[in-house]
Symmetry: C2
Subunit: 303 residues, 2 copies
Amino acid sequence: MKIHVGPVAVPELEEAVRAAGAELGSAEEASALVWFGAGPERFAEFAHSGIEWVQLPAAGIESWVESGALRGGIRFTSAAGTYAETVAEHTLALMLAGTRQLHTMARAGRWEQPEGIRSLFGATVGILGAGGIGRALIRLLAPFGVRVLAVNRSGKPVDGADRTWAADDAEGVRELLTGSDFVVVAAPATAATAKLVDAGALALMKPDAWLVNVARGSLVDTDALVDALAAGRLGGAALDVTDPEPLPAGHPLFSEPRALVSPHTANPKSLLIPALARRVEENTRRYLAGEPLLGEVDPAAGY
Amino acid sequence: MKIHVGPVAVPELEEAVRAAGAELGSAEEASALVWFGAGPERFAEFAHSGIEWVQLPAAGIESWVESGALRGGIRFTSAAGTYAETVAEHTLALMLAGTRQLHTMARAGRWEQPEGIRSLFGATVGILGAGGIGRALIRLLAPFGVRVLAVNRSGKPVDGADRTWAADDAEGVRELLTGSDFVVVAAPATAATAKLVDAGALALMKPDAWLVNVARGSLVDTDALVDALAAGRLGGAALDVTDPEPLPAGHPLFSEPRALVSPHTANPKSLLIPALARRVEENTRRYLAGEPLLGEVDPAAGY
């Protein structure tokens, strides 16, 4: 049972495979792949009948779902959960920057106190798609005494949330949108979540609420958001992901005073490899021991 | 025992006085003043031999110390501790913005991933002057599992800090400066803390460390900081207070890519009055009951 790291070899990931007790090998002789450095379009080069398991490097794997690469007979694991802490940290950074208007101050270039500075203390935070990132965010928010409203697929109560609704509970989703000072989008990108935050959802939000998207750009209707911000119908938007992505030069979101765009850096390269290496080591150990793998993809659900 | 709120009357503060069971009155008939809306230069207009107690609205009261207004026979209380949570929140916002480079992204106006994004998880945070703000910050940092190094006046261990040194322990201060990924300045402005962070202190800091000042501008040597930033000898500086303050238009700190200046908004007006009202109510209650007051100023220490 040899494991191949590729198409791009990463020493830290190879070391993680060895640390778990497995042997490295070429793609041809491997029974498992630790995929890194390319998208699904190159998967056919590496796939063969001896491959049992593929560890993907990202938490969001919609490009693999769409490519049809998740074929029967091979187990795929995403990195879901691996980056939850670092993405949650970035989410908190965006929330605090927005509520303290640091984006405005960074741009001002002079001593000018903006109006409407607010606080996380006592705020209500709604999380659309409260999975690993949501749980990590709830832990970071705990000292602020916030009220947490959560939506997830099952509606099963999320630890630390005051209310949890199932994603198909329209009344619950509405209650989250109308009641939150921050609406955090952290759901996987699937057919069901495309444009989850559309003009109607934005219209339900409080006029001083912030929208924070750390999931995928496809979950928010960009044009509707641009309109809502321009009309002053939202406190602001902090987006780590956009649609289109990358956001083209001159896009209105770059010049919108109420918007802060981070260019998909919630899980930056500098923090990604060490976190991924820990997951690779753990899943390799589980693979060798025949134990359940972490982050196994459900092709039917699409994540 | 009547209490006067002035020179500027603030309904929320008057309501706090009443809520504590005291009667409002003119300055002439009052035995206590809740001071708001002016500096010590107007105190002589209000002071008379019947005044026993003056509640000041700020946590930092160095202008009152310097003015000589803290005369014997009158008890003064500052608002120290009242704003600790909101200042700590702002401090965390600045730390996260710096480590995630949100200031760079806010200014970029295009999709460009900066280098060197880092994390608070596992970082070491040094707090120079770990009083109420420092303790509140430690509570907010707890979920990040940071290591906290603290310096305070007495050297008495600070809850949640891994090490605490006394301010006059030069070796301890050096250890904090050399070992911290973030150096947070939160000490009162006194003769002893003027230019506490000078060229020598900055030279001891890690080349990728951030300096965060939420105390007073006088505690940092601005010119030395500008030099260190320009030379790339620091990760960055996030300053809520500056020397001079306000920072004049065209000051190098406004154009320095590694710097983020918030214009003394750690305790913004929008959050100040409600917090001060709670303190006024509690101290009025204590005043009526003859109990020790919160934040009583020690004229010898200067805070």
